[in-house]
Symmetry: C2
Subunit: 217 residues, 2 copies
């Protein structure tokens, strides 16, 4: 019997974070696809507070919040570390993971779905965030030196989903002229990193996002 | 020369989180009071992204974000652990810390400073969060069993600052009839926990908040 179950959604970057961490560690798991339009009793009882995916269930006990799950996986299972070893590097990795989740992703919602002046202001502000990431990624392959790790996993949305959202929405913010280091990191991530084969299908994701932007408001 | 410096603000719960962690570990540190109305060059160069306190400077290297700093302190210095030992308990502690920071504190801003209908809706929603905390704290002294730790440190705002804000603003949400377990935790925290002597002066904080609520809008 599989002791590790993951309640998730195939196309979700938050689910993928956890899947990748499990794959890095070589942990066998059962993936349970959740229907967010009609949430399952298992999800509701496993994450009664937020009712969100992903939820990891290990030996019957649920763990919620993708970044909390990542720390749990790193501490619980054998295999290569996801967080760096050095405490200062770990702090830097956690800082950037938090920056992605607390600052970048919430603002992107306003960029893509905001209206009029709010959308324009958000675009300008998001450009500032991209500049920050671009500066940070200068002369580095990944967030903490040359090793793909915790902050990169956390930033999967920025590396893959975001570019497809740009294409689907027609709101293009990233160019290699403006953000060369960010683009270099993204290119490395998608084409040469250890998760390149674990990314969802670009075509499927594009079609999924296009249908959302074309659906009646 | 002190190798550990903390840029903070005496009355800030976020600064206190870090101070308490340093005290638990017995780490000597120099506290540098920041003026948020006229930010110092040291703060701006130590936390160029967010320009916020607290910042821990250890051996000349800055670490930002109070919860990231707490993890760093726990991993770097000898002394009693702030996070529990068991990985599942650690995940639970991190989950509640995140719930406080991402869900409770942002909503409280709307409760206290929102207007009309928005404020009323926020109050009702915040009552729901208090109910969640109240359920969680049933039959427990602290967030993870009987040991004061990481999640309690993170929840210092809810334990101490929040009640004083209620008094200063006149918006009272917590009663022991409605939230007996939350009140029991808060009472234990303020009067009998290991941080009781490290809390700021209630009178000073009350006067500080009262002046904010009385100042012209």
């Amino acid at each position: 019997m599989t002791q590790v179950k993951l309640i998730g959604v195939t196309l979700s970057p938050f689910s993928r974070r956890v899947e990748w961490a499990l794959k890095f560690k070589g942990v066998e798991y059962e993936f349970i696809e959740e229907n967010l339009q009609n949430k399952s009793p298992l999800l509701l009882e496993s994450n009664p507070i937020h009712k969100k995916i992903p939820v990891l269930i290990h030996n019957g006990k649920p763990i919620c919040e993708s970044m909390v799950i990542l720390e749990y996986i790193d501490e619980t299972f054998e295999g290569p570390s996801i967080l760096p070893k050095d405490p200062y590097d770990r702090a830097i990795a956690r800082f950037w993971a938090k920056f992605i989740d607390d600052t970048c992703i919430p603002l992107l919602g306003k960029v893509l779905f905001g209206k009029g002046e709010e959308a324009e202001k958000s675009k300008e502000e998001f450009g500032g965030l991209l500049k920050i990431l671009d500066n940070e990624l200068k002369d580095k392959k990944f967030f903490v030196g040359d090793n793909f790790g915790f902050a990169d996993v956390a930033a999967n949305f920025m590396a893959f989903w975001f570019g497809i959202l740009e294409e689907a929405s027609g709101v293009v913010l990233v160019t290699s002229e403006k953000f060369p280091n960010f683009c270099g990191w993204r290119d490395e991530y998608i084409n040469r990193s250890q998760v390149k084969e674990y990314l969802p299908s670009r075509d499927v994701l594009l079609a999924h996002f296009q249908s959302r932007f074309q659906s009646p408001k």
